[in-house]
């Protein structure tokens, strides 16, 4: 058990910088998810912590120990890989115990840990098969078992679920969360899937271009994204963005985008330093748009051109003044495609971004 810290960590590959100025403190027992698109540096960070990739500059610590230049085997970390990385010529049991045997752990202790992992992960039915005779989910469990029995200071997960089908992915997600909580080991989890990121982590680290964009509890990141990248990256479907400017009118601020005028009625409004006439981007999550019964004050008129019924929710694609907005509404009788609809906005949940992308909220969320 240990906390993990990165201080000013930087990684260059040749002339390309893939991670820069990375600072992160992970407390003992915490599960932190690193999320971002491909090439954002998330896997590189994990591999630097494991010792599989050298650190160009900065410091990495596990517990009180600086590990920046230690080889992998001296770091006391275990990793679960995207392709499981099981040794194809060994059975599940041999795969699980190999690391312990190499470390000369006594036989009785290996057996004890094997039983323990088999019990938590329900491995028994396929423990003596070779990987090629296991299903994807079974391989994944063996890979997790192999990490568990090491009883490492830190667990590392490198997109462990991305090779599984959707159904299994949901199941294994719970499995990983349950295992990590039960074992109580500090864990770092890398994914590009924001669903995993939202549901698994105690905290999220959103990365882009090798830099941290935001760190926080999933709900806080979702509710108050620090910038336009985070706002667009977290949440499905993505947040709607409208580029426009603010104007001050008699009864308050109005967001103006071409012919569209949205009066800002709720308590969420941009930072008071933003002056009338300045360019801002308004962000509205799809679920904060709803079908209004009739056109009226504060509603947005538009043309519905597609309705995707997903089940409980329906995604409405609405054209508003040449822009497409997506609204996520409860399924129910909806107007036919091609018809005119009015959308109402939850004014208490608007987001504002400066032209450089940074959040302009001033109500303390940001």
């Amino acid at each position: 058990m240990a906390n993990v810290s990165f201080e000013h960590v930087r990684k260059d590959f040749g002339t390309a910088t893939v991670v820069q100025d990375f600072d992160l403190q992970v407390s003992d027992g915490e599960l932190v998810v690193l999320v971002g698109g491909s090439g954002c540096g998330k896997s590189t960070i994990l591999r630097m912590l494991a010792g599989l990739e050298s650190v160009t500059s900065g410091t990495v610590r596990i517990g009180e120990r600086e590990v920046t230049h230690l080889p992998p085997r001296e770091r006391d970390v275990a990793m679960v890989f995207q392709d499981y990385a099981l040794y194809p010529h060994l059975t599940g049991r041999q795969n699980i115990s190999l690391g312990l045997r190499l470390r000369k752990v006594p036989k009785a202790e290996i057996d004890r840990r094997e039983l323990w992992a088999a019990d938590i992960l329900e491995l028994d039915p396929f423990l003596d098969r070779k990987p090629k005779h296991m299903s994807g989910g079974q391989r994944q469990r063996i890979a997790m078992g192999r990490a568990m029995v090491r009883e490492p200071a830190v667990f590392l997960f490198d997109e462990p679920l991305s090779n599984l089908d959707a159904h299994l992915r949901g199941q294994m997600r719970h499995e990983i969360a349950r295992m990590q909580r039960r074992v109580g080991t500090t864990a770092l989890y890398v994914t590009h899937d924001q669903m995993e990121a939202m549901t698994l982590g105690d905290r999220l680290v959103v990365l882009d271009g090798g830099r941290i964009q935001q760190v926080g509890r999933p709900i806080d990141v979702y509710g108050a994204p620090a910038n336009k990248f985070v706002a667009g990256f977290i949440g499905t479907p993505s947040m709607n963005f409208l580029d426009g400017r603010l104007e001050r009118e008699r009864d308050g601020l109005v967001f103006v985008c071409d012919t569209l005028r949205i009066p800002l009625l709720g308590e969420r409004r941009p930072d008071p330093t933003v002056h009338s006439g300045e360019a801002v981007t308004l962000g509205i999550r799809p679920e904060d748009l709803a079908l209004a019964g009739a056109a009226g004050m504060g509603t947005i008129p538009g043309n519905l051109f597609l309705a995707e019924v997903l089940g409980a929710t329906t995604h409405l694609y609405v054209e508003v003044g040449g822009r497409r907005l997506i609204a996520a509404v409860p399924s129910g009788p909806a107007p036919p495609p091609g018809g005119v609809v009015s959308l109402s906005i939850d004014h208490s949940r608007l987001h504002f971004f400066a032209p450089d992308g940074s959040s302009l909220l001033h109500d303390g969320h940001a």
Binding site: P72, R73, V77, F81, A85, Y87, P88, L102
Partner: protein
């Protein structure tokens, strides 16, 4: 009917390749009077040809020499060659690019170019009439390294990562993770290397003069150049050739699929 005729033609074609070997085997058991005959069954089977061959030249010793040389070369190419191939494929170190480029370039150089300089080198090293002269110049093989490197490149990186986290060093990763995964290319390299070393004639003819150190094909060549061309001598030479052929044919019978695929896919002939 057409089908039957096709098989007859095919059988004649196959006989063209097989019959000479059968005839050779049969002839070694024939008395001089029968050597010229086409039949495969000797009227009076005799082991005289083998006795004569065995008495005239140290073929037992040559068999041991050939086994020692071919085995050493093969083991070296597999063990040291795969270590080099593993590094060239999967480790980052200064000079890797140059080493990879030289490995490819060396393959393009015809053997005739380096034969004489190599010979002078062996003479200068004082290795004439030594096993070193037969083994060391073949201890590595650029073709083998490229075949293994190509295969090693396809092993997922996560397996290496995982093995490193499990606490393995690079040699251990090579032998306990990569080798079990690479049985096919290792067998392929093993077969072509062994066959190459087993059948090589020109090089031993240059660097070995001591009969006690000669390999089988070399001793066979030297032996058959001496002696006359009469029926008795012919049968004796063929008996000597049998010592070289029988182990190969036995191995080939059981492993012919691997022999054919290995040789055909690497473009190297025996």
């Amino acid at each position: 009917m057409r089908r039957a005729a096709f098989y007859v033609v095919l059988a004649v074609a196959a006989a063209t390749f097989l019959y000479p070997f059968l005839w050779m085997a049969a002839t070694t058991f024939k008395s001089p009077a029968e050597v010229g005959a086409l039949s495969l069954l000797p009227d009076q089977p005799t082991l005289d040809n083998y006795r004569l061959m065995w008495a005239r030249a140290p073929f037992g010793r040559a068999l041991l020499n050939s086994m020692l040389v071919a085995t050493s070369v093969t083991l070296s190419v597999l063990v040291f060659g795969s270590a080099a191939a593993y590094s060239l494929a999967r480790l980052r170190f200064p000079g890797r690019g140059i080493l990879n480029a030289v490995t490819v370039a060396v393959l393009l150089v015809p053997a005739q170019l380096t034969l004489i300089p190599m010979y002078t080198l062996i003479v200068q090293l004082g290795w004439v009439d030594s096993y070193a002269a037969l083994i060391v110049p073949f201890a590595f093989n650029a073709t083998a390294i490229l075949i293994l490197r190509q295969f090693f490149l396809q092993v997922p990186r996560s397996l290496i990562d995982s093995a490193r986290l499990d606490g393995m060093g690079e040699l251990r990763i090579l032998f306990t993770v990569f080798w079990p995964l690479s049985k096919a290319p290792l067998a392929m390299v093993g077969i072509i290397t062994f066959m190459g070393a087993w059948n090589e004639v020109l090089w031993p003819l240059l660097v070995v003069r001591d009969e006690q150190l000669m390999t089988l094909p070399q001793l066979l060549t030297v032996f058959s150049l001496g002696g006359g061309a009469g029926p008795r001598q012919l049968a004796t030479k063929l008996a000597a050739a049998m010592v070289l052929v029988v182990p190969v044919v036995v191995a080939y019978t059981f492993l012919q699929r691997y022999f054919i695929e290995s040789m055909a896919s690497t473009g190297i002939k025996g």
